[in-house]
Amino acid sequence: MAPILSIDRVTKYFAGLTALKEVSFDLQPGGIYGLIGPNGAGKTTLLSILAGSIQPTSGTVVFQDRNVTGAKSFAMAQAGIVRTHQVPRPFRALSVLENVEVGVRFGRSQGSAGDLWDARRILEWVGIAHLADAPSVTLSVGDQKRLELARALATRPSLLLCDEVCSGLTEPETASVLRLLRKIQDAGTTILYVEHNLKAIMSVSHHVIVMNFGEKLAEGSPEAVQSDPSVIAAYIGRTA
């Protein structure tokens, strides 16, 4: 099966700092991939490049056999790659429903055949339909995270990039969001998930990629990665 996403030696320099150094990996369609690593490993930078928020210095990004290297984020969204934000960024002047409407109307208009997504149905699916007309700023943190997901899903992505979607949530809220992620995966969307909460990410991913100092350190199943000595060293070394 052809990978849905294939990145090859992606590198990013920022004014003298090497944030990413020749990172390469493939993602197969339909999985939940975890991306972990100590602080400063470059996870968010990589996510931002895949989302089109920033452009790589070198390397290639191929998505569904199309070269999307360096595409801006709206182009990535049109191609089917969409991100959520670590700190939710709702459109403050708009209601919850209108926020999702932006995703519906500007994302890909085609996608999974047969489904007639509209904003209310997405809200139902994500679990915040009762808040549809509320101003988006009045939502709790957990609901704002759901709104982020709803908005992203409204664009009908094939690849959903989740940025620390569980940060700041309580245990039950985290479990609830993870269930939602599995529901999204079941519906056919591939997920790449950056997270600090190792327990959460190990429980939901089928394949984990570990980064450190801007490079890919290891990848494999959650069990394999957790027992990999270099991964353990990276985390323990960092907390010193």
Binding site: Y13, A15, G16, T57
Partner: protein
């Protein structure tokens, strides 16, 4: 054009660049620390000019001394403006609509203040120095421009010193790079912002005084210089002090040589064209180019 003429023009441009740098540095500080484009900069340039003028016309205080005095006076004015107005508006890491409108409103108020107090006739500061020329070999330096250049350089040098050797300077540089990180390591953001704003206005006022020594002025004289400050900081990269120096030189050189072909009236148009060109060719300014160069090192 002979080599001597060329040299004279280049030197004139360099002297001009010094003033432009002093004029623009205030904006850079304020933008760098608070992400606010200080549109009232023009108003403070104007007030600085009148301040130095009045000191000279009423108390016969040498304009250079007047410029020196402008620093503390305008520093206090700047801090007061921040305390009364600027601190009440939300800031973010992008310039906000609110900040643009607030400072634009302030500029209007300052302009009107100028008209009310001083009327709209042109003033000029004429001292024995004004017409003096220093002759070194074939090169002639108008003395007043030399003096202004020296003052500009001195103030820029002092700023460099402050930025690198004092707590304030370190706090400013921290906030310019990353305000969240700065806050985390203990920088008092609001206090630093207030002082930074004060310093920015201090430079605007003093630079206005320097400009007044060279040009005649009226209450709306801030406008063209505001545009020039924009050109300088955009070319420099908005937040880089070295960029201000480079941007000033480029602007001054282009203006000086354009006078050969275009009447001086068109200078705002020249400045604007340079601005647009800079935005097209060098969107991150000269500083951006420098950052990218390091990648290849």
């Amino acid at each position: 054009m002979s080599a001597v003429d060329l040299l004279n023009l280049l030197i004139a441009a360099l002297l001009q660049a010094g003033v432009y740098a002093a004029m623009s540095v205030g904006m850079t500080i304020i933008y760098g620390v608070m992400k606010i484009v200080n549109l009232a900069h023009a108003g403070f340039l104007m007030l600085g000019a009148y301040f130095v003028y009045e000191l000279y016309a009423r108390f016969h205080i040498d304009p250079l001394l007047g410029v020196l005095l402008a620093f503390p006076v305008f520093f206090l004015i700047g801090m007061s403006v921040h305390w009364v107005l600027v601190r009440r508006i939300p800031t973010s890491d992008q310039p906000t609509l609110t900040s643009l409108l607030l400072l634009f409103g302030l500029w209007l108020v300052l302009q009107n203040l100028g008209y009310v107090v001083w009327g709209n006739s042109d003033r000029a500061i004429l001292t024995p120095r004004t017409l003096d020329v220093l002759q070194i070999g074939p090169i002639s330096f108008p003395t007043v421009r030399l003096v202004v250049f020296g003052a500009a350089l001195t103030s820029l040098g002092s700023l460099e010193f402050v930025l690198h050797k004092t707590w304030f300077g370190r706090a400013v540089r921290a906030l310019m790079q990353n305000s969240d990180a700065g806050r985390i390591v203990g920088v008092n953001v609001e206090r630093t912002a207030r002082v930074a704003f004060g310093v920015g206005i201090a430079f605007a006022g003093a630079a206005g005084g320097l400009l007044a020594m060279i040009y005649s002025f009226s209450p709306d004289f801030g406008g063209p210089f505001l545009l020039r400050s924009f050109v300088v900081i955009v070319m420099g990269g908005l937040e880089s002090f070295a960029g201000v120096a480079v941007g000033s030189v480029i602007l001054a050189v282009v203006e000086t040589f354009c006078i050969l072909v275009l009447p001086a009236n068109y200078q705002p148009a020249i400045a604007f064209s340079l601005l647009v060109l800079a935005l097209i060719v060098l969107p991150e300014g000269v500083a951006g180019l420098w950052n990218k160069r390091r990648r290849w090192a």
